[in-house]
């Protein structure tokens, strides 16, 4: 075969493989959305889950999922950012740094069920937090930190070295160079990292079953005092999320419309993740423009 033919063949194979990937993704997404969306209704979004009868909704699960995501991000982002800045900018290239990196890599491939059981033993039992949002958020933080840290580290390392030198040559301190130049330049990458990890958190079930629990408590949406027991914001209450709800409805649920509820919930989950992605991108662009342009 001559080079031209080989080139053509390689191109065709690559196109076929890409088509295959797209087909699988489109198939899954399409299937979820097509089977789920017809069952999505305002009633479904605005009413509580039912235990025995058909016609229950996912209002609390939706709120719990979003609340857990926000809490987890608030807890894990500062830690991951700090660790990533250290690894990318300050850490010397020696065995300790390598050990830290290896640990992070191992942690990021830890099965989420293991994180869940660890969270159960540590937060639920040892710390006595019980099945609660805070236990769930802390477990998700453990689950999230390694990947978020390495994503942010990659984003920071992606900023060209001469940007740093230019900052130093202008008389900026190391920290001011990082804060004023490197972080704004890395922002789009950091944001992508946050979005990716947010999708993972939002869809996570195994790590939450043993930490945030599989049942909801009575929630009064008129009460926003985080310390009151029925408040949606109370972090000590148990909270079932959308993903856990899907799992539960399909394993031990006795509602007659389990297939419908899980199809609709799956579609909702996917839609929220998409909305979140687009929203974060929009906000990120705005933030980037604000950070990088004069008023």
């Amino acid at each position: 075969m001559d080079a031209k033919k080989r080139d053509k063949l390689a191109t065709v194979i690559i196109y076929i493989l890409v088509g295959f990937v797209v087909l699988i993704l489109a198939g899954i997404l399409g299937n979820i959305l097509i089977t789920g969306i017809p069952h999505l209704s305002w009633h479904f979004l605005s009413s509580g889950a039912s235990s025995y009868q058909a016609g229950g909704g996912v209002r609390d699960q939706l709120f719990n999922s979003i609340y857990l995501l926000v809490l987890t991000t608030i807890i894990s982002l500062p830690i991951a950012l700090g660790a990533a800045i250290y690894l990318a900018e300050y850490a010397k290239d020696n065995w300790i740094t390598n050990l830290i990196r290896t640990t992070i890599q191992i942690l990021s491939s830890l099965p989420s069920i293991v994180v869940g059981l660890f969270g159960y033993l540590l937060f639920v039992v040892q710390f006595g937090f019980g099945f609660s949002i805070i236990s769930g958020a802390l477990a998700l933080t453990f689950f999230n930190l390694p990947i978020l840290t390495s994503n942010i580290e990659e984003a920071i390392k992606g900023v060209p070295q001469d940007q740093r030198e230019a900052g130093l040559a202008l008389g900026l301190s190391n920290w001011k160079t990082i804060r004023g130049i490197v972080l704004p330049a890395a922002l789009p990458g950091i944001l992508t990292g946050i979005i990716l990890s947010a999708g993972r958190i939002f869809g996570e079930a195994a790590a939450l079953i043993y930490t945030a629990g599989q049942s909801g408590s009575t929630i009064n949406y008129a009460d926003w005092n985080p310390f009151s027991p029925t408040s949606p914001l109370n972090v000590m209450r148990p909270a079932e999320t959308l993903a856990v709800h899907i799992w539960k409805v399909n394993t031990e649920g006795i509602i007659p419309d389990a297939t419908i509820v899980s199809a609709a919930t799956s579609a909702l989950l996917v839609i929220v993740v998409i909305v979140f992605n687009l929203g974060a991108r929009y906000l990120g662009n705005k933030l980037y423009r604000k950070l990088t342009a004069a008023k």
């Binding site: 010397k92 130093l168 040559a169 004069a294």
Partner: protein
Amino acid sequence: MTTIISAKDVHLSYGDYEALHGINLNFKEKELTALIGPSGCGKSTFLRCLNRMNDDIENIKIAGEIKFEGQDIYDPKTDLVNLRKEVGMVFQQPTPFPFSVYDNVAYGLKIAGVKDKALIDQRVEESLKQAAIWKETKNNLNRNAQAFSGGQQQRICIARALAVRPKVVLLDEPTSALDPISSSEIEETLIDLKHQYTFIMVTHNLQQAGRISDQTAFLMNGDLIEAGPTEEVFIAPKKQITSDYLNGRFG
């Protein structure tokens, strides 16, 4: 003319490898000095000693004495921020920050604590004019500096370096990443400015050194071979090796 920077017996080594074997060189005020020599001769390394940009490299050892306006810059009491305000730098690759043109040029001033908006505005305009990029940017001051062409970016970087009114500007192959037209525009900018600032420029381009520099220093293998007024070095070099290099027999 007075000497603004003087280097005395500057040695520099990375670990066991000595890259500079005792450089003695004086730079005169308000002149453009070109540092020339084959790749790896230590000219960039030497340039980066002059505003202590080598400090953060691991296992580096710098010995000897470099004085800026009579003060030893490697004295532990030296304020690095102040030194780099006086001795600015422009790099081989244009390095605009991912901000607007205005913010790029104003950055050094803001870092230095200048709050007066009118003064900053005026400095930004002046510096952009000096770097001959005002016409192309005056209506686009809020545009991201990285959206400009390479040559424009480099002139924005020159403006940024000039905005803090340094006495010396170090140029590390400032045109080698640019096309010939952008390069010649930068050369003209430097010729216009060299009566106001002291420039020290590393260049691989011998014609460029010949065209715009007042003094030329030829380095090879970490030694200073010969230094003097550019015309003398180019027309009547004292050393055979300088003449060989200038005539393209090696390097």
